[in-house]
Amino acid sequence: MRRWINPEHCLVGLEFGNILPSSRTRDLIRAGVLKEKPLWFDIYNAFPPLREPVFRRPRLRYGKAKSPTQDIFYHEDQIRAKFYAAYGSGPKAFDLFNPNFKSTCQRFVEKYIELQKLGETDEEKLFVEAGKALLAEGVILRRVEKARTQQEGSQVSRKSESMGVESQTALEENPPLKEVPQAQHLESPGEESKGLSPP
C-alpha cells in the first residue's frame, strides 16, 4: 500500500508560492499522481482551520512602526502604585499556591474602592482612611517613605548624570499614549520608586 508522497512534488511552493497542502493534494489527486485520497482530506474540507497554513516570511518592523499589542492596566493599578510607594512590599508574603489568595495590597485596594463608593473624593483622605481601616482589622503597615526619599534623591541624581537622555525620552512617550493617560503618569513615579527600592 503506497502511502509515501514524493517530497519533490511538495517542495514547489513552500518558500515563494502560496500553495496550500490541501490544494496541492487536490491537484495531485486530479492529475493521478496520488492514487488514493489521504485520510485527512475529507476531515480538512469539512472542518477547515481558521487560517490557512501558508508560509509567511517574518519581516522586521522599521522606523516608528510598533506592534499593536496593548498594555494591560487597571484603574486599581493607580492605587497599587501609591500603596507600594508608601509601604513597600507590604507585611505579608505572596502565597501563589493558593488561587484565592488576597495580598495586603489587594485588601488595601478593596478598602479604598469601598470608601470611594461611599462618596469620598479626596485621594489623600481615601488613602489614609483605607490605611486606618486595615489597621482596625489588625494589619500593621510600616511606611518606608523617609529612608526611601534619601535613597531616591542620591540615586536620581546619579541616574540623571548617566542616563539623562533615556529618562527624557521616557517622559516624552508618556503624554502621546492615549490609552490610560492618568495611569501612565501615576505609574511612572510608582515604577521608578519600585525600581529603585531593593528587591
Binding site: 500500500m1 503506497r2 502511502r3 509515501w4 508522497i5 517530497p7 511538495c10 517542495l11 513552500l14 497542502p21 496541492r24 493534494t25 488514493e36 485520497k37 489521504p38 485520510l39 485527512w40 475529507d42 476531515i43 480538512y44 469539512a46 472542518f47 482551520p49 481558521l50 487560517r51 497554513p53 501558508v54 508560509f55 509567511r56 517574518p58 519581516r59 518592523r61 506592534s67 499593536p68 499589542t69 496593548q70 498594555d71 494591560i72 488561587p99
Partner: protein
Amino acid sequence: MATGAVLPRLLGAGVRAAPRGRAAQRGRTLGSAAAAAAREPERDSDRSARILSEPLKHSDFFNVKELFSVRSLFNARVHLGHKAGCRHRFMEPYIFGSRLGQDIIDLEQTATHLQLALNFTAHVAFRGGIILFVSRARQFSHLIESTARSCGEYAHTRYFKGGLLTNAPLLLGAQVRLPDLIIFLHTLNNVFEPHVAVRDAAKMSIPTVGVVDTNCNPCLITYPVPGNDDSPPAVQLFCQLFQTAVTRAKEKRRQLEALYRLQGAPGPHPADPAAPGAPSPGAQAQLGVGHSP
C-alpha cells in the same frame, strides 16, 4: 467521494468482513447463502462509507467542547506567555495584551482553536489514522511518551533525525506508513528554533496540530493552538485533552462498527425500531450521546 476509490483502503484498514456463519444468519432476508456472500463486501463498503461520512455531518460529533472551558484553561495557566521581547510577530493576533511586560494570550481565541484541533484529532483517530506526538522539551518527554502509549498512538520526543519524514523509505524501510497527524506539544526545539518536523510535515502534506507559545511561528501549523507550553499544569492539561479526544474517538468507532454490524442490511435508519438485535436501545442511547450538541 466515489465508493470504489474508498473500498480497497478501507478493507485494508482493518474493517473486518463478517465471518461466513453470521452471513448465513443474516442472509435470511436475502435468500440463498451464495447471494448473501456476494452482497457481503457491498454491504461492508456501504457500511464503512456510512461510518466514515456520518461524523463529518455534525459540527462536534465527539463533543470535544465539554472537555475544557476558558476557566479550566485559565487555572492551568495556559494564558501566560513569554516576555514582550520574545514575542513572535505572527503571534500578535492571538495575544490579548501585555501585563507589565509579560504577554497574556487571549483565551477566547485559544478555546476556538483548541476545539478545532481536538475535533480534527478525534476525526483522524476515528478513521484509524496514525498520530505522532512530537516535542523536544526534555522536562515533559516522559509525560508525552506515556500519554501516547496510553491512547495507543506514537511519540517522538528525542533528537529528530534529518530525513525522517522526507526520506522515510531510506531511513525507516521501503513500505512505511507515515503519520496521518502530528501533534506538537512544543513547536520549538532546545535552541529555540522551529522544530524540523513542522517544515517537513508541511512538505509531506501531513496535517499538524501544535501548541504555539508567544515566541513560536504558527504559520506552517495547520491547527495552531495559542497557549503556554512551558508550565507543567498547561502541558499536562493539553496531554490529557488530546488523550481523551483520541480515546473517545476510537471508542466511538468501535461502538459504531458494532452497531452497524448488528443492524445488518444497509438502509435501516439507525433509530429504526425494526432493526434486529437487543442492543438497539443501548446503542441508540449511545448514538444519542454523539448527536447531542
